[in-house]
């Protein structure tokens, strides 16, 4: 946990830098919104009031953090062996897809059967999807960056094929969707809010990730591969197997995010399971330097930024996607702030 310790030790300096970055980014974004004839200050104030004004608003922030935490782990784990997994978005969709298959096929089962089943289905769906770029990379056929990016566009089409075809609910006419999950297939929620079991999964994934990297032989080998693949190969570490296992687990974790979105939030499979959580998760992981504690902090911040997008859409008719500009500006500033001459992470 050397990296985590370093973060804590210069916490004050970081907080100051962070405030500066946030101020510049919010300023740039506000200028843009003013140019588009919108009221950014009202949007910022509305967001703070909504998120921190009452418990429900804050719980919605937690709800949004869940897929970000999970997809960030899905990007962070492969990053530790030098793989760039930009495919958490597609893996999330395939997790949602296989979980739906499980929920529809075993709808007569009780919850204590269905919940583990959905979890396993979500994990396997995302894991197998990530295994495709994993195999292609391990065989040194296709670079995983480009293959994971391309597969992101295929997975939502598979989902659409099923909800417009075999799984189309007769009740849905204009907006096709799958039949609703039975009550036993819905993830339990806490504190009379939409915060669901996925939060437990997310923190379990983070803790396991952190422990595995620091306390196990598996993590040691992974760090060896990430540090110097050639040396690791000569040490006899089976890199081929590691690529497959790591990609499967990473995809599985992203798949859990998809499973949770359909089983807890939507209650059915819809065509838009995620508004780009997988992409944001990648950036969260990157900004966090792939540390577990950093992922929690960054997920919180990006969930907060997403809330700005929600508020803008609801109160000022600005498309939700516009909030991507705010994220991008923050990223550009952080990227540009790195001292010139230092090696990029």
């Amino acid at each position: 946990m050397r990296r985590d310790g370093a973060i804590l030790s210069n916490c004050a300096a970081r907080a100051k830098t962070f405030a500066l970055v946030a101020a510049i980014a919010l300023g740039v974004f506000a200028t843009l919104l003013v140019a588009a004839g919108k009221d950014p200050l009202k949007a910022y104030a509305d967001t703070l009031l909504y998120v921190f004004g009452n418990a429900y608003g804050f719980s919605e922030l937690l709800v949004r953090m869940i897929p970000l935490l999970l997809t960030a782990v899905a990007a962070a784990l492969p990053a530790r062996i030098g793989l760039i997994n930009v495919g958490a978005e597609g893996q999330l969709y395939m997790g949602a897809w296989l979980a739906t298959a499980g929920a529809l096929a075993f709808s007569d089962q009780p919850a204590f059967v269905l919940l583990p089943l959905l979890t396993v289905c979500g994990f396997i769906g995302g894991g197998l999807w990530a295994l495709i770029p994993g195999v292609l990379r391990a065989l040194r056929l296709v670079n995983e960056t480009i293959s994971t990016l391309l597969l992101n566009y295929v997975a939502p089409l598979i989902v659409s094929y099923f909800i417009f075809g075999p799984w189309r609910s007769p009740e849905s006419s204009s907006y096709p969707q799958s039949p609703a999950f039975v009550e036993a297939a819905r993830l339990p929620t806490f504190f009379h809010s939409r915060v669901h079991l996925g939060l437990v999964y997310a923190f379990a994934a983070l803790i396991l990730y952190s422990l595995a990297m620091t306390r196990t032989r598996f993590g040691l080998d992974m760090r060896a591969i990430g540090g110097n693949p050639e040396a690791a190969r000569r040490l006899g570490i089976p890199i081929f197997r590691f690529i497959l296992v790591v990609m499967f687990i990473a995809g599985g974790v992203a798949g859990l995010a998809g499973m949770a979105e359909v089983a807890a939030i939507q209650g059915r499979l819809v065509s838009e399971v995620s508004p780009g959580y997988g992409f944001i998760g990648f950036l969260v992981s990157w900004l966090a330097g792939t540390t577990a504690s950093g992922i929690v902090i960054m997920s919180f911040l990006f969930a907060l930024i997403s809330s700005v997008g929600d508020i803008l859409q609801i109160t000022q008719g600005v498309p939700f996607a516009v909030v991507n500009v705010l994220m991008a500006v923050i990223l550009f500033i952080v990227l540009g702030r790195q001292p010139v001459g230092s090696t990029a992470r």
Partner: protein, 304 residues
């Protein structure tokens, strides 16, 4: 198959291949300078939205294309500043650029959703009977006619000019280029400006000539397909023509099948370009023929 269907496929291949070709050519030049730009998707979206907005406001599609090219170049300069001057990680900066493009294009395009525009006029080759197969095959907008010359010009620029020699040197070894008296950073800025211009035009062709609409995220991953096409084309503009036609053909075939009422799910057909790209990359990887610039994706941190 009847001639009309084939004509439709070919015309579709040319139409949807054009924007891919422009985007691929731009990315080739950037990568020849050693810079991977994963933000091409964002550049295309900005081009599509700004080109459509300008056309709707002023009424001139040519002005729309020019605005799109300028907007693409401007956005790519932000990227250039971050990766060249600030030496940031290219993959992360590229994805940030993609987000920037998704967001900015949504903001620009919002007031113009559903707007009607007169797109780039189709210029038929004279002397063909109107409505005939010849006219269907040879009636395109000016950007289509300019695509091939642009590819040839890009090839000439990269392989037959002093600037191109410098560009390739920077992509292979910035240190060697520096030692030879070149300024690697300046060359990279120039290459990325060129890439931004072409990326913007690629986006504009989709909104101002092909679909005549603006829809959020309308490029649907074509930026990433173009990046894959660069690998397919082995960083050579002439091969990019073949690649763009192949992928355009896949889309043209799909549109014709849909129009003919073929009993295949549109979602399955929409997967073809992505799976085809992956298949081609696998084939290329199998043959282990990499023509990638040696310093591609590396950050040049100067020489001692």
């Amino acid at each position: 198959m009847n001639p009309a269907l084939i004509a439709g496929i070919v015309a579709g291949a040319v139409m949807s291949g054009t924007s891919l070709l422009y985007a691929t050519l731009g990315e080739i030049v950037g990568e020849r300078a050693g810079i991977v730009n994963l933000g091409l998707e964002g550049i295309m979206l900005i081009g599509a939205a700004s080109g459509f907005a300008a056309t709707a406001l002023v009424g001139s599609p040519y002005l729309g294309v020019a605005v799109a090219a300028g907007a693409g170049a401007a956005a790519n300069l932000v990227f250039a500043y971050v990766v060249v001057s600030r030496r940031a990680n290219q993959l992360a900066a590229g994805l940030s650029l993609m987000f920037f493009g998704i967001g900015l294009s949504a903001l620009i395009g919002r007031p113009f959703v559903g707007a009607l525009i007169s797109g780039l006029p189709r210029l038929a080759v004279p002397g063909l009977e109107p409505g005939g197969i010849g006219a269907r095959l040879l009636s395109y907008d000016s950007l289509v006619y300019l695509a091939l010359p642009t590819a040839l010009l890009t090839w000439w620029l990269i392989f037959r000019t002093r600037w191109g020699l410098g560009l390739r040197t920077v992509g292979e070894s910035p240190a060697a280029a520096f030692a030879a008296g070149l300024r690697p950073e300046l060359v990279q800025y120039q290459a990325l400006t060129f890439a931004g211009l072409l990326g913007g035009i690629a986006g504009a062709h989709m909104s101002v000539a092909l679909t005549l609409t603006w829809a959020e995220g309308m490029t649907a991953g074509r930026g990433f397909i173009a990046i894959a096409l660069v690998i397919f084309a082995k960083w050579n503009p002439l091969w990019a023509i073949a690649g763009a036609l192949l992928f355009g053909g896949a889309e043209g075939l799909q549109l014709q099948l849909q129009a003919a009422g073929a009993d295949v799910s549109p979602f399955i057909m929409n997967m073809t370009p992505y799976l085809l790209t992956l298949a081609v990359l696998m084939l290329w990887g199998w043959r282990r023929q990499s023509a990638a610039p040696a310093a591609l994706g590396r950050t040049f941190v100067g020489v001692e």
